[in-house]
Amino acid sequence: MLEIEHAKKTFNLTNNPLDDRIALDDLSLSVKEGEFVTIIGGNGSGKSTLMNAISGVINLDYGKIMIKGIDVTSIDEHKRAKYLGRVFQDPNLGTAPGMSIIENMMLAYRRDKKKGLRWGFDKKLRTKFAESLKTLNLGLDTRMDQKVGLLSGGQRQALTLLMATLSKPDILLLDEHTAALDPKTAKLVLSITDLVVKESKITTLMITHNMKDAIDYGTRLIMMKEGKIIFDVSGDEKKTLTKEDLLKKFDDDGDANIAL
């Protein structure tokens, strides 16, 4: 489903080569259809750069990215959007605050479709959207005409998640999407995530800072450091994984820069 070959990316804010910061260091990754990959790693390990490279926010210096066998390495961000559903760390980034819930959903519904001069508000979709909103159990189905700017951070993340999967993406990218929420809301959004992913069997990549979540959720776990994948487990091996194992792995590499 997703193939990344020899991805390299270096950031440099000055022109001095000594300031080069390697974000992705010859990283290769292959994700099979239906896999739910959790990604952990310290700050600056290249997790977000990986996400941004897949979604087209940044271009790679070297390497290749393929989705469903299609080479998307040099395809613009908005054109790649038809393959991808994305939820961001910042709850404000995933929705248009001045538009109503239903308008946001209309936009998301057309993510992979061509946009024309048809009226953007399809009344027939209303009941369909209301049903999807009901599954969130947040009472949003009765507030469909309210502006998203009025929603709380948790509600926005839940809505963004729903929007990302409204027209089924090939890959769902979750970039620390619970990090900005309070523990209770984070748990709620995470359980919704798990439900949605399991139900529609979407191939998913989820970055998290929480080791427990990384172990509890998903079918495969990847640990990143300095732009490389240093640990990659799946299947039974992942099921028996403990926090201590992960911590040890971190300590081995002299990196304790991670939240528990």
């Binding site: 994305r86 404000n92 929705t95 001045g98 946009k115």
Partner: protein, 335 residues
Amino acid sequence: MLVLAQTGWQIVTGIALDTFSSGLPYAMLALGIFLSYRILDFADLGAEGSFTLGGAVTAVLVYSGVNPFIALLFASVAGFFAGSVTGLLCTKLKIPALLSGIITMTALFTINLVIMGIYKAQTSSQPFNILTSNTNYITTSIGNRFYYSLYAFFNSTLGLSWFKPLYSAILLLIVITVAVMIIVYYFYGTEIGMGVRATGMNGVMARAQGIDTDNMTILGLAISNALISLGGGLSSQVSGSTSSNMGVGVLVIGLASIIIGEAIVGRKTFKRNLIAVVVGAIIYYMIISTVINTGLLEPHYLKLLYAVLIVVVLVISHIKKNKKQVIGGNGLARD
């Protein structure tokens, strides 16, 4: 006593007529600025150039014998292109938004002089020279052509002797304004229009939803400037004149209109916001024409008045906002 009442009545009608005849072209302008400033979140300084561009194109075409309505259409198209240039500079050439607008505005100053110079070159035996004094000022009787037929219809055909030529101008302006509002409302409700709105609200989200934010920005600015140019065209038809500096200060007029309108009518829905902008422009112009018509200030104090007025409006809206914050948090209901 009667004389005094009569003079009073004259002043009031004078203000009312002036408000609508001069205010409605500025309502069109304010709508255009609303579409860039509020909808795209883009402070487009090119507006000053586009407004004059509309006036210049309209004046030259009408003087060349083109139908005034067709002339307005061409003015809008010219503005559409001017806006596209600003958009291209900003998105494709990565020039900062503010600078893109300033570059277009600067370029348009020359272009406007050239356009006005075409007329000069055609009608006089003087060689084409934009630097000749007076070339940048064309006084016309465009206004008469614009509403003459309508005036004749009401005054002669219907026999309404009180119907002045200016009334027909106001009538036409109202029709055009409402028509444009309906078109704008419809367009911004279409799939593409929603894309433009999403782009202005949250570019990250828009791109994640497969919206080409570069193209939407260019399109949004093009439409915005088309309306601004149309406003300039209407303004030149009403006043019967156009000049190279007629656009100076229009950005301030537009912004003040938007803020006044939103404070009075509100901005709950897109429809309401459109109405707010038009109402705001009319109220704004009423204040201006009251000051001028009652002789409180000489007309050459106009631009100073624009500047002072927007400061007052901004300060009042800021105080209002602060008050709200003290009473109800940030004013947003959060669960």
